[in-house]
């Protein structure tokens, strides 16, 4: 838990001048403590065949909550008791441990590969139960149910929507025989349960979720040149969207799903275009002999942020979605590229290079302040979670690329455990995927 102590207490004492003490004493509190909410997540009870439940629900919840940076779960070995239902909860026991909240639950086997998952959330301070739910789930749904429970707990205690029950898409490179294999995968937001949606012998890059979470656009070199396809995730149906001369790259969906912003160099050098996905008509947004690429649509659909080196080095610029004069946004450092918008449209995550290291930074568009969140040397491809609280990105671990998540305040960082292989370009799905 982080603590900020500043001596800023203002005391207003009324009523001391009268003999009768009738009015209340007024005390002003001008400072609090910054830190994660202390919470205890007790291993769920298990009723069924086999020694243990097929998934450790409590561990998934605990990991989710701590990854958000907003909670500080008690380590298992500090738990003094293991209640699984409300009647077994003794509040004073938990008060001694200084936790604000308690999560307990149980899993019961109801059939072959069928379960019921129940959980309850308690307020230790007030000594009350806050919420409790019960879900039926098949074997393969257990992890998603756990993430859903994490979302419910998160919402109850922070007032914000949880983004644990969401997915990510990313590119993985493995070696098979002597040659490389490139795959596009969709996994849970904690990296588990990956599913391959495309496999190729040639590079794949720049995946992008549509706003409804049903499609992914990406760049593929399967025809020995860069081309943009869109693919329906559920069915696997693909459509070739752009195969112009030169570069076809960096697709980004408009919030209404009707257009894609993309990079084409058919007119001589990389420029930003938008394309109506239905009619395939193109509209050119930049006319500049410099590199203009990596367009990303603002959540309100009114503007596009992109990377340009028209000023001498890669920086972020913003232009109206229907075209116009581009306005420069970044002035800190010599390299700012690969932007992603926060869901509320007020922040931009980017790759920020300074002094030979490439890190993830966040620019606050209201204040213009840039804040570096990571401390790697080769961090790239940042992507906001749909509730704007976390950023997933690619980093390097020795000889291969891995994914990591960092909370937007920079306080908490965690590597995602994925299977072996070189993993890159993660993109977080919208809600309800």
């Amino acid at each position: 838990m982080g603590l900020l102590r500043m001596q800023a207490v203002l005391v207003l004492v009324l009523s001391l001048l009268t003999q009768t003490v009738s009015a209340a004493l007024t005390i002003e509190i001008t400072q609090g403590v910054e830190g994660a909410i202390p919470i205890a997540v007790v291993p769920f009870g298990w009723k069924g065949t086999g020694g243990a439940a097929p998934e450790n629900i409590a561990a998934i919840i605990s990991s989710d909550l701590s990854r958000s940076g907003r909670f500080d779960p008690l380590p298992d070995h500090d738990l003094v008791s293991h209640p699984t239902e409300a009647a077994e909860v003794q509040y004073h026991n938990w008060r001694i441990l200084n936790v604000d909240n308690l999560v307990i639950g149980k899993i019961s086997e109801t059939g072959a590969q069928q379960y019921t998952v129940q959980f309850e959330l308690f307020d230790i301070i007030r000594g009350t139960r806050l919420i409790g739910y019960s879900f039926p789930a098949g074997r393969n749904e257990l992890r998603r149910v756990a993430h859903h429970i994490s979302d419910l707990i998160y919402e109850q205690l922070t007032g914000e929507k949880g983004a644990f029950n969401t997915q990510i898409v990313y590119v993985m490179t493995t070696k098979s025989g002597g040659s490389k294999v490139y795959t596009l995968l969709v996994a849970d937001s904690d990296g588990y349960s990956p599913q391959t949606i495309l496999r190729s012998a040639q590079p794949l890059m720049s995946p992008a979720w549509s706003a409804d979470g049903k499609q992914v656009a990406y760049v593929t070199f399967e025809n020995k040149k860069a081309e943009i396809y869109t693919q329906d995730i559920a069915t696997g149906t693909r459509r070739k969207i752009a195969s112009f001369n030169g570069i076809n790259g960096a697709p980004s969906w408009s919030p209404d799903g009707r257009r894609l912003a993309l990079t084409l160099s058919q007119d001589g050098n990389p420029e930003i275009y938008t394309m109506d996905v239905g009619t395939r008509t193109l509209k050119r947004l930049t006319t500049n002999s410099a590199i203009d690429t990596e367009p990303v649509w603002a959540p309100d659909g009114k503007s596009i942020v992109f990377t340009s080196d028209r000023g001498g080095s890669p920086q972020l610029y913003q232009v109206a979605a229907w075209g116009g004069t581009a306005k420069r946004l970044t002035f800190d450092g010599k390299y700012n590229a690969g932007a992603d918008f926060s869901p509320d449209g007020r922040k931009l995550a980017m790759v920020h290079g300074e002094q030979g290291a490439y890190r993830i930074a966040v620019l606050d568009l209201d204040t213009g302040l840039l804040r570096v969140l990571t401390d790697g040397r080769l961090d790239e491809s940042p992507s906001f979670s749909p509730n704007g609280n976390m950023i997933i990105y690619a980093t390097d671990a020795g000889n291969r690329g891995v994914l990591a998540a960092v909370s937007v305040d920079g306080r908490f960082r965690q590597r995602l455990s994925l299977q072996a292989g070189d993993v890159r370009e993660p993109v977080w799905s919208p809600f309800d995927r």
Binding site: A8, V9, V11, V13, S15, L16, Q19, V21, A24, L25, T26, I27, E28, I29, T30, Q31, G32, V33, E34, G35, I37, R70, D100, I125, R126, L157, T158, G159, E160, N389, D409
Partner: protein, 298 residues
């Protein structure tokens, strides 16, 4: 040394001056004249020619007698003068005195006359007065007799009334007296109590302030501020305490508009209980109801 002189020119100058003065004094105090004793008043011896000493003596004697005679004559004249003057003065004095005496006599006579006249006047007035007095007395006597009569008539009536009144008044007076006495006593008590209370307050406000600080500190330490909350939020909570510092009631009196912020504020108060209170239980009244205003400044 030269450096010292350069650095302190004034001091050196004074020193030298002093030395010179001292030297001068020394010099001038020495007697440079050769020692010749010369008694005062005596004339320088003169060169005398030879002369017969007896002749000298006779001449001298003659001269001396002459001188004596002149001297005496002078004296006589002077004395005569003086005597004459004294006589004149005495004469003047006598005349002045006589004048004064006559004047005084005259004054005295006049006064005596005035006195006699005043006396006569007084006598006459006194006589008048006496006559008037006698008249008045007679009339008064009459009046008094009539009055006495009337008086006697009303007297009885009045007496009865007065009696009753007096009784009532006496009663009221007694009561008032009693009340006044009581009030005076109460005021005295109150004054004493007030003095005591003032002294206590001075002591208590110090203690109360101290514990307000402890309470604020404990609540602050237990307030996990929600990180996502917007700037400028403020929330007021009314907290009722029971002796010992436990919280019997927490009530949001002014919401911040953000339920999570409000809840965090409530939680802070709950987590901070029991609130630290001064050991002197007579000060508990100051802390019975506390209004917390949560208003983060950053």
């Amino acid at each position: 040394m030269w450096q010292a002189i350069r650095e302190n020119p004034r001091a050196v100058m004074y020193a030298v001056l002093m030395h010179l003065i001292l030297l001068a004094i020394l010099v001038f105090s020495l007697d440079w004249t050769p020692k010749i004793s010369r008694p005062a008043g005596q004339k320088v011896p003169i060169e005398a020619t030879l002369v017969d000493p007896h002749q000298l003596e006779a001449a001298a004697e003659k001269r001396r007698a002459e001188e004596r005679r002149v001297e005496e004559a002078k004296h006589q004249v002077v004395e005569e003068e003086q005597r004459k003057q004294a006589e004149a003065e005495a004469k003047q004095k006598a005349e002045a005195e006589a004048k004064q005496k006559a004047e005084a006599e005259r004054k005295r006579k006049a006064e005596a006359k005035q006195k006699a006249e005043a006396e006569v006047k007084r006598k006459a007035e006194a006589k008048q007065k006496a006559e008037a007095e006698a008249k008045r007395k007679a009339a008064a006597k009459q009046k008094a007799e009539a009055e006495a009569k009337r008086k006697a008539e009303t007297e009885a009536r009045r007496k009865a009334e007065a009696e009753a009144k007096r009784k009532a008044e006496a009663e009221a007076k007694r009561k008032a007296e009693e009340a006044r006495r009581k009030q005076a006593e109460a005021e005295l008590q109150a004054r004493l109590a007030a003095e005591q209370a003032a002294a206590e307050q001075a002591r208590a406000s110090g203690i109360v302030n101290e514990y307000v600080g402890y309470i604020a500190d404990k609540v602050r330490r237990n307030w996990l501020r929600p990180p996502g909350s917007p700037q400028g939020l403020s929330c007021e909570v009314q907290v009722s305490l029971i002796p010992g510092g436990d919280v019997s009631r927490v009530r949001i009196t002014r919401s911040s508009g953000d339920p999570i912020f409000d809840r965090s504020v409530e939680t802070a108060v709950y987590k901070a209980k029991p609130l630290p209170l001064p050991p002197d239980s007579s000060l508990f009244n100051y802390f019975r109801e506390i209004r917390f205003v949560f208003k983060p400044t950053s």
